[in-house]
Symmetry: C2
Subunit: 367 residues, 2 copies
């Protein structure tokens, strides 16, 4: 069992250091828009779900109210037996590790595995969390879902407990992998192939499974088909590498012409397309079977949909705070689809690791 | 071989009579927005494609310029051998029928079938066309795609010639089924089961295949699964009936509480959900496997996406002039998809007719 790198492997140009200084109040306003006002004509389902379910998970047959955050009676460093050091909001932070979030309500620790953390990748999700862009961060927060990005066989389970900034069954808050150790139920531990290096292999547990899962689920693995990868951050890198391993023809689509050398020369993409160049975009109209869109900021997807052949599929992995514009005719007239995908489950994560080991896929990490 | 009904079978409350009096100029402005300004940061692909391809189809190896509308040298009624009477812009209109749009460039008429039109359904596409809501109508126009809604095995082929308001290979314009006869290549003729009535069966060739095709393509046919049908117009009716035949549990979702009796009592839907009632919508959160959204006007799809279970699928069939708002987190966090679908191909249309005959599915038509 080995772990992941704490050097950036994400698509943002922002550095971790700059994040902690964001104005929290304005971010909260921003995020409130996402989770409430955008869902026109509806009660605030998402917020409600967070209160009762996803963020305060309840076991079967237990009333939801039981699982709300319990009143703080101890400091984080005294709350649990395992003294832990981490980076809360990317500032040093001392807290303690409890027994793992067990699958059973009455956890006894028998399934717990205490793991020393050597590496932890930085993911754009962490940046969203630190900046409270989704309006649900409970400060202090220690990001870093590390090799435990997926904490349930069904990662879409509404009772999912996330790796960090979630509430355990006993009401205490959890902290992530930007720290020196973590306690995990053995069910949520994967076997890390010996041939994968710890540092360059660990990010696969986030970026790798994030692209591998939708490629499998949406049937985007047919050799010889054309895949466009939008954005060449950490997830984009993984998409190019997995796509090549599946035998796809890869076009990296980016606003930055400067990334062409990296895309083709270093990653082995077959072509490069500057999305801000109308003539080049036009020349690629209707040429792609699949697109993986990794962009986490608001952007236009209509130009991307025009790149797809009939029956083409665009999978969006980012979580922009503003809704995207969806032109129905671009879907209807070509029977195209826009699908979302979150992280994969435990079984698929294990499968992905073996796939990456077989195809010598690792992440590009800075020393 | 029999044909279709000319009584309304569409989701709009508007009557055909009211349509011809719309202000064309304002509609053109409206439509220009759809096809140009909405595709941010891009050249006008759609318009370009229409000029060169979809609306002025070219045969392989032929320059696109060859297929532009040829100069008018004869009146429509003298242009071709078959004298025809129809409803141009829903006003009486005399024109002539040429040989059918052949699959080969050098058509000789050997494959032509001349068909007397007894019934022709009214479809929302016709309303869009008459009102020039998509900005591409070439007046005069005779709508009515009748039993020939699908004019190619691959209805998503970019060289598709539509049933009306398209340009033939020889540069003449075609007119649809709101008329007394039509000439069609035998390849595009389907066998109409004897057990289906002409009038109530004909709309299946539009509304029926429009729902049958996506249900098959997107895998929305598993017995016992929950299907939401948004909008109870012609397409919605067909979705309920086909869904029941596949063994699905159907919820009709509508803004009109008055449609409950029809949905459940007449069509046999299992439940009814008023989309404007927040409490009822909330109670249905996360309960549906599939949604077929037939609404042709701008509307919020976020509330619909919240109705879906994880891995749920929403298929949109309408073509609103304004882009819909797509909240990425509603797709990503539940691995949901929004897919489009147009009409089906010839083979699937034939399959649908046999399916409907077997399950006694016909359209509800007014006498």
């Amino acid at each position: 069992m080995r772990a992941a790198s704490n050097v950036p492997f994400c698509q943002s140009e922002e550095t971790a250091a700059s994040i902690a200084h964001q104005n929290q109040e304005s971010k909260e306003e921003h995020a409130a828009y996402l989770f409430t006002e955008q869902i026109e004509g509806l009660p605030n389902y998402v917020e409600k779900e967070e209160e009762e379910g996803a963020r305060g998970p309840s076991a079967a047959n237990e009333p939801a109210t039981k699982h709300k955050t319990k009143p703080v009676t101890k400091a984080p460093e005294d709350e649990h037996p395992h003294k832990t050091f981490g980076y809360g909001n990317l500032s040093p932070f001392h807290f303690s590790r409890r027994f793992s979030p067990s699958r059973s309500l009455y956890e006894n620790g028998d399934d717990d595995v205490a793991i020393k953390i050597l590496y932890c990748r930085v993911c754009h999700t962490d940046l969203h969390a630190i900046k409270n862009e989704w309006g649900v961060t409970r400060y202090p927060v220690v990001p870093g879902s590390c090799e435990y990005c997926s904490q349930d066989k069904e990662s879409y389970c509404p009772k999912l407990i996330f790796t960090y900034d979630s509430i355990y069954h006993d009401g205490t808050k959890n902290y992530g992998g930007y720290s020196d150790m973590i306690v995990v139920d053995q069910y949520f531990v994967v076997r890390f192939p010996d041939s994968l290096p710890s540092d360059a292999g660990a990010p696969l547990l986030c970026a790798g499974i994030t692209v591998y899962s939708p490629m499998k689920y949406y049937g985007m693995t047919e050799p010889g088909k054309y895949l466009g990868v939008v954005g060449l951050g950490g997830v984009g890198h993984a998409a190019v590498k997995c796509g090549k391993a599946f035998g796809l023809k890869i076009t990296v689509i980016s606003t930055s012409p400067s990334k062409e050398a990296e895309a083709i020369g270093k990653l082995g993409a077959d072509s490069f397309l500057v999305s801000s160049d109308p003539a080049k975009m036009k020349a690629s109209f209707g040429t792609m079977d699949y697109i993986i869109d990794t962009v986490s900021a608001f952007h236009a997807i209509a130009p991307l949909l025009t790149l797809l052949k009939p029956n083409g599929k665009l999978v969006t992995l980012g979580l922009p705070a503003k809704p995207l514009e969806l032109h129905s005719h671009l879907l209807v007239l070509g029977r195209k689809l826009v699908g979302g995908s979150d992280i994969g489950g435990m079984k698929e994560t294990q499968e992905m690791l073996y796939f990456c080991a077989k195809h010598n896929i690792t992440a590009d990490v800075d020393g």
